[in-house]
Symmetry: C2
Subunit: 774 residues, 2 copies
Amino acid sequence: MNSIINDRIQSFSIIVDYASLTINQVTLMTLDQLSIILPAIGAVALLFTWWKTQSINKISEGSERMAKIAKSIQEGAMAFLRAEYKVLFFFVVAVAALLYLSGNNNPNSHGLVAFSFVVGAFCSGLAGYLGMKVATKANVRTANAAKDSLGKALEVAFSGGAVMGLGVVGLGILGLGGLFAYFSEFFDVYKNFNPNGQNDELNKTLSVLTGFSFGASSIALFARVGGGIYTKAADVGADLVGKVEAGIPEDHPLNPATIADNVGDNVGDVAGMGADLFESYVGSIIGTMVLGAAMVAGSSDFVDFLGGLSPIFLPLILGAVGIITSILGTFLVKVKDGGDPQKALNTGEFVSSGLMVAASYYIINKFLPETWTFNGISYVPMDVFWATIIGLVSGLAIGMITEHYTGTHKKPVIAIVDQSITGYATNIIAGLGVGMISTTLPILVIAAAVIGAHEMAGLYGIAIAAVGMLSNTGIQLAVDAYGPISDNAGGIAEMSELPKEVRERTDKLDAVGNTTAAIGKGFAIGSAALTALALFAAFTASFNQTHPESPLSHINILDPKVMAGLFIGGMLPFLFSALAMGAVGRAAMSMIQEVRRQFHNIPALKKALEVMNLNEGKPSSDWSEDDKKSFDEAIDSAEYGKCVEISTQSAIKEMVAPGLVAIATPVAIGFGGGATMLGGLLAGVTVSGVLLALFQSNAGGAWDNAKKMVEEGYEINGETHGKGSDLHKAAVVGDTVGDPLKDTSGPSLNILLKLISVVALVLAPFITLSGLFS
Amino acid sequence: MNSIINDRIQSFSIIVDYASLTINQVTLMTLDQLSIILPAIGAVALLFTWWKTQSINKISEGSERMAKIAKSIQEGAMAFLRAEYKVLFFFVVAVAALLYLSGNNNPNSHGLVAFSFVVGAFCSGLAGYLGMKVATKANVRTANAAKDSLGKALEVAFSGGAVMGLGVVGLGILGLGGLFAYFSEFFDVYKNFNPNGQNDELNKTLSVLTGFSFGASSIALFARVGGGIYTKAADVGADLVGKVEAGIPEDHPLNPATIADNVGDNVGDVAGMGADLFESYVGSIIGTMVLGAAMVAGSSDFVDFLGGLSPIFLPLILGAVGIITSILGTFLVKVKDGGDPQKALNTGEFVSSGLMVAASYYIINKFLPETWTFNGISYVPMDVFWATIIGLVSGLAIGMITEHYTGTHKKPVIAIVDQSITGYATNIIAGLGVGMISTTLPILVIAAAVIGAHEMAGLYGIAIAAVGMLSNTGIQLAVDAYGPISDNAGGIAEMSELPKEVRERTDKLDAVGNTTAAIGKGFAIGSAALTALALFAAFTASFNQTHPESPLSHINILDPKVMAGLFIGGMLPFLFSALAMGAVGRAAMSMIQEVRRQFHNIPALKKALEVMNLNEGKPSSDWSEDDKKSFDEAIDSAEYGKCVEISTQSAIKEMVAPGLVAIATPVAIGFGGGATMLGGLLAGVTVSGVLLALFQSNAGGAWDNAKKMVEEGYEINGETHGKGSDLHKAAVVGDTVGDPLKDTSGPSLNILLKLISVVALVLAPFITLSGLFS
């Protein structure tokens, strides 16, 4: 009797074993497939950028002069990248060595974290390199295509942007997907994985993977800060000496700083924005993976399609699908002459967003279990779906609010123009006021998104909301990067004295670019906020998994160390902004001196300036032969390279101090004050950073457009005030004040808050709960 | 046998009863004495102010013209107060009714909270009234005394300030001490008090007492915001139309806005600053009392001189002693002609600080037990003493850091001047940079003080540190208020055309006043920060005592509602500043239109302006009789009153919106999101408010002094740039931008953060842990 029962039990257990083996095999097969498919989709994006680059290369650069100017810009841009990457090389090597040593000495981490870091830094650098390379090719070709039609010009400019956009997401998914596949193999994650237990291998894998995000953030920091300093130093230098002192128009070839100015647009707005969104993209995915692992570990009934790994894979899968929808979207961005480029861009974005929502719905319901319980609350896949929608909608909302506060002919900008009539000071006060009040609605949106997404799916919900917001980064960034390419095209058209209708077409593209840039900036801030929060939550999850004996169950504001951390964190964005603005001031001063030196010391240039003033307003075709000759000689003698070099050197030198503050502070607080104080620091820097970024970006944007409105001619009491009027002078001062705010210190804060969160995430296994002081 | 034991036990218990009765009797006697002594010392301060006022009244006002001008200023100031108090009357009645109803319907509170509120509002209003009244008497008498000597002028100006200073602390201690004595009697606190148990009567008493702080805060809010709007509207209006358009000097009697401008100095800098420090003073004392009660309730071995009530009485006793040391200090502020007024003020402050430290040492060791245990940590009195010292030292440190960033001939201000050479925009950028970087050190001081004071004596330590910082408020505020009185005296000397040496003497006093004002502003921000934290801690203590079933054990940043609260709280200071700046802009616009109207429509005024321009630079004694006549007629015809009315009406109208935001937000979040979200809000508003207050005050101060440095004549490359130079024009723009930042929005934030904390404290018994949404 007994033996029969034993036999039955044995045979039953064999069946069960066999069944579970089948499940495991199916799962392993799917996991193995995913390990290939995900990086492959990343590679597809890169192939797409290669194909787009080829199609751009095929287009003619136009006249010899255009090619020459374009070459100067490209060389300048590449020179900056080379100089920047040279400095960053040493930084990356030094940090990688530290990471390797500490990783190897910690049971919860591994020396491979250094490898992740290097790959992340490399991918971010490569994305910047590719984007800039193609942007500096597309600019001149856009100008040339604008000779034919608006549609062709849009196509070229947008193709250039698409290379940046899909390069970023492609490298992100290829890098993250590839590394995750490799580490999973290395640590043997899949075979040992148990959805109902503590998975040390998975945790170690994810901890090592965070290095990727840290690498991306580090490069982003220097790209944004360095790029921001570069672009504003060149801009201010070119404007103050060229426009104001020498009286020559913007983008004029006699101005030695012109090339540097155009290089700056690429360095700041293309590479800087690209690195920023690469960081958000990668950060939100990694944060979600870490929180996904914590969710699975904390729920006892997690049975899904991937053997319990679906929440970890979900952000990667959504990202990969977003690549496909973005590529599809790019094919819809077309316009006929006389058509509206804005509409074309909107169509591309909206269709690809729609596809993404539909795909997310399918994927989330397919991969996640029908229901599961975590922290005593039961969830269904639709909860996670709604969290992604919350992210998507809030990103759009913040973008639209930004557009309201900074757009021409909107109430806030009109108010600035109206108050500029009483002078410089009232213009500044009005702009500061607009910047401050523009924080209210975006913050309410973020607060609502945080509560809503958490209500849906806990901390995982907040992280997946960030992923939802960023799932369309490919096409979003394409639209963003298209702006500076069009701007550059206009500059090249001006410098090459192309026919008036060409400049009109590029101006039309550029005007649309300004709106998309404003929305893109708001979007970047919103995504930075959610990404930082996702990384913050991931930091606590990672800390708890590596410190099960003393977990970080709460970060209590009533704890004075947390409060002190909040204060210090809140202060950092102010310090950081001050350093960035100081750097711009010093760099601009060097540029001013160099341009003045060239105007005084280069005889040909000095003569040409005199010739220009004599022929004031006449097109060069009507000049005397002698005058034309002096002019052409002068162009050969203006030393553009010197200005490019000065901007490059200043930017590199000046980016170091803010960079060190950003990295050293969380390290010092993490080891000194422990995880709780570090938590306070993160919360403080996130809240204050988002606020100050919104304030600075929006004030700067509003001043910029107030100036544009005056330049169009603004009527007050029947009198029209245009270029050269007192109203215009006041508006120009506001625009100049706003420049470093919106292009240097403001955007750098996006990086700061993500970077500090990611440093915390990387540090999590290494620090203790209370630090050195108990 | 049994009966013998019984007998023994009985007789032993009789002895114990008798002994405890003796202790209770001694304690009760001491408590009864304190209930009389504390308010009596407050009354002594008021007697002192009465005596000082009498001595000021005895001094001559000088010429008829001086008396006339002074009367206009005084009438304007009182008209503003009347208008303000009329609006506030309805506000106070409405809020008191709400408090009465909710207090009566809550077992942990009482309708008397409405009474406390009304008394608090009344005391704050009375302090403002007394201070303004005497300041507007002292200004003209200072000018007149300056005819004789610097020493006499200092004495009058400082006496005026002393009335404000001691009026504030006197009313604070009289009000708080008196109410506490009355409520203790009413709720029968002393007899029922048990140091080792839950004391519902004491908690109810303290909860009711918080209404006093709420009343003080409400009045402070409107005084600071309304006063700030008033002073800047008048200032900008007087400057823009008078100085820039009509070309007449500052403080000139022909300018209809001159009187309003001088009224503004009193309204903003005397009454506003007084209300601000009254709020800090009262708030820090009440916060400490609440936390003291929590400490006693939480420790099982608390045996002291007052039967366990010493931590509750300690802040009141220290305040009372501070009154005496402040009075003693005032007697040391004396200077001979040729002497340094700064030194005289320093002597007074330092001696009274020294006395205060010695007295604190004695009192703390006398009243607190030899040792006690709270939350498992054992404390000794010296811990509390060191916490007060930490407060005192950090207040001084923040003041000195402020002086560094805003003082003339200091590096940051010199940097602004240097950057102004390239124009308006670089002046603004440099100032914004100085404002931002000036937040770093004060925040580190506050963070260190929070950790240090808590390390010493827990949350009670943080609160008592605020009390320590504020214990010398009497003399500190006297020094602060002396500044605007001297400033006014200079204006009156100018308007009355007194001899040059008089103006020189008042200028000397005024220059010292600027330094003390800068330090005072830093001090006000630092004390606001610590007071807000004390009130914050008191809020949680009060909530826990009234909600023992669901206490607020921690405010967890990882809770999304707390995070959302942090975001919203962080945003409020930006919204509030934007509203305040917008209000200044609108109010200034009305003022500009009124001054222009008078210049155009009043024939006598129009003629006198022409006469003045004809006699440009000549002293009036050299004018023709006709010209003199037109001039005198014009003065009679300039409608100062209209300008005063416009400033008053605008200020009253414009203070409502920011006021409502400040009060409605914590109420909405408290009831909607519960105590946890409210906690997040408090932390956010405190951190962001302190940062933005430092940024705005210091940027404004630095711009102001950069302008002053240029006006003294500034040498660059051997060339001197003075008044009227391009450098000066750039510096003037910076100063104008900085004005509303440093005098309206910046200082209003001090109030905002304390007010929101005190609203939370008042709400504590009425709200739930999680609010309407779980």
